[in-house]
Amino acid sequence: MSEIELLNWARGPGFQIASVIFVAGILIRLVEILMLGRKANLAEAKGSAMSSGLRTIITRTVPDASTYKRSVFTVTSGYVFHIGLFITIFLYAPHILLFKDVLGFGWPALPTSVIDATAVVTIISLVAVLVHRLKDPVKRFLSTFDDYLGWFVTILPLVTGYIAFHRIGMPAPSLIAIHILSVELLMIVFPFTKLMHAFTLFLARYYNGAISGYRGVQS
């Protein structure tokens, strides 16, 4: 198989398979969670569940002062790589073309040099969180295979994308094919690991806020 054949496969059937698993997997898990339902709460409501739930979705995005003080590194690096991932995935011109093709609409891109620098910062912060995870006895104790797999499939597209952009070491079609395949691996693993939090976190935050709101306590 020539590298162009590999690239054509990654852009064609490979991406199709990954998209099916990604979309179907996420919806299966979300619908399953929603269908669990909750028992009716017979206690009298002491406040609005919904307003508290919606508020919590936003408030939990900002760490409270004491949490931040306790884990400055975890919070800061968490923000850095999440924002970095957002910028590199959603604001790079070639990626936006892909979203436009699938969704039917696009949005403005950032200059390529900004994406390039962001990718470096994101890769560094992801390496730092892994080192921290391995060094911190509590984090290491709590870590499972799922955590390391999630980390690996997240950093892989960043590294392969960076190499493909700078065209290092191999013919360009191979580099781009490897990058696309690494994204496809991420898409396939996504719904079945903790990476699923990208879709469940708002649901969870809303629920946490809503039960507190119902009881009339601060969430």
Partner: protein
């Protein structure tokens, strides 16, 4: 003149002089060839010397499933270039598009050349070979496959001209109705130099011939059998529009302000980033321009399967299949599966509740 030209023992230098090419322009050609092949200036006299003394090698040119575009590229230059004269000065003993003879007379010429220059002639092939049915493409009743096998036997080396011969090209494109394959899919025991392109740049074809005449060996090739001197760098890396790519400035349509300002054509489907060829440096029509300079994205014609990349105007980052449709079906299937799994869970819970028996005092006394 014609008789003089066709003299087999004539050297290349003699042939060029007899056509009025001065020593100065000959050396200029040698210098240009040296720089094009990334050789040091000290090699110019060597090239000149070798070409000067080179006997016109016998060349047999086989055209299989092709469109004659490669031959056109080489011969239909606006003016008679020195490259085309070099080409005239090889002994092109068989080329059924160009030769006057046809049918059995033409085949006799091929057989005579093969016999006379056994083990020494250069075989040039353009076009792919159909394996589906030998009748898809025949010459004088001989199938392409048989003619290739027969002619390749006594060849010193094979040069595949054009993407069809090098990689299967357009006939090989999905669904490949003729079962077209490249020369290297069939011939395994001869040195093969792939000179792909649709068509290849004329100067690249003559450059490869010059290299063979100068050094008596095939040039350094990349992993796809292409001479590294011409196919060593991608169009993207040598593109004069590259700074716009780096800045993120793209033409969105063929007639917007970006297109007029000469911005990068990536979004219009340019395959420059994945294509290795000399277009951006050697250029076409005597160095006048190349497709990107004319405002059209690169099609990637010197790469295998360039016809199956999902469309010439689809950017490399866009999937080749219809992912919107795929994801809609996947979403519907996902929701259905989620509901089914959820419902099964609920049923289990309900039946567990139903069969649940409360523990009574009597049970505990047992």
């Amino acid at each position: 003149m014609t008789n003089d030209l066709s003299r087999k023992d004539k050297t290349l230098g003699e042939a060029l002089r007899s056509q009025g090419i001065s020593r100065r322009s000959f050396l200029k050609f040698c210098a240009a060839t040296a720089s094009m092949m990334a050789l040091p200036p000290s090699m110019i006299p060597t090239i000149a010397n070798a070409l000067e003394k080179a006997r016109r090698p016998s060349v047999i040119w086989l055209s299989f499933q092709e469109c004659t575009g490669c031959t056109e590229s080489l011969t239909r230059a606006h003016t008679a270039t020195i490259e085309s004269l070099i080409f005239d000065s090889i002994s092109l003993d068989y080329h059924h598009t160009l030769q006057a003879a046809s049918g059995h007379a033409a085949e006799a010429a091929r057989e005579a050349a093969m016999e006379e220059n056994d083990g020494k002639y250069l075989l040039v092939v353009d076009g792919s070979i159909p394996l589906g049915n030998p009748g898809y493409s025949t010459i004088a009743g001989i199938s392409n496959y048989d003619m290739l096998i027969d002619t390749a036997k006594g060849a010193a080396a094979i040069i595949t001209v054009g993407t069809c011969a090098a990689f299967g090209g357009i006939p090989h494109a999905r669904p490949n109705p003729t079962g077209a394959v490249s020369v290297s899919d069939i011939i395994k025991d001869k040195p093969i130099i792939n000179v792909p392109g649709c068509p290849p740049i004329p100067v690249v074809i003559t450059g490869v011939l010059t290299h063979f005449l100068t050094f008596g060996a095939i040039p350094e090739l990349d992993h796809l059998g292409r001479p590294k001197t011409f196919y060593g760098q991608s169009i993207h890396d040598r593109c004069y529009r590259r700074p716009f790519y780096d800045k993120g400035l793209f033409a969105e349509t063929f007639d917007d302000e970006g297109a007029k300002a000469g911005w990068c054509l990536y979004k219009l489907g340019c395959k420059g980033p994945t294509t290795y060829n000399a277009c951006a440096t050697t250029k076409w029509n005597g160095g006048v321009s190349f497709p990107i300079e004319a405002g059209h994205p690169c099609l990637g014609c010197s790469e295998p399967d360039f016809w199956d990349g999902g469309g010439f105007y689809k950017a490399i980052s866009i999937p080749t299949e219809n992912i919107t449709k795929t994801t809609i079906y996947a979403a519907a299937a996902g929701v259905a599966a989620g509901v089914a799994i959820g419902a099964t869970g609920r049923m289990k819970k309900a039946s567990a509740n139903k069969s649940h028996q409360k523990v009574t005092i009597d049970d505990l006394k047992k």
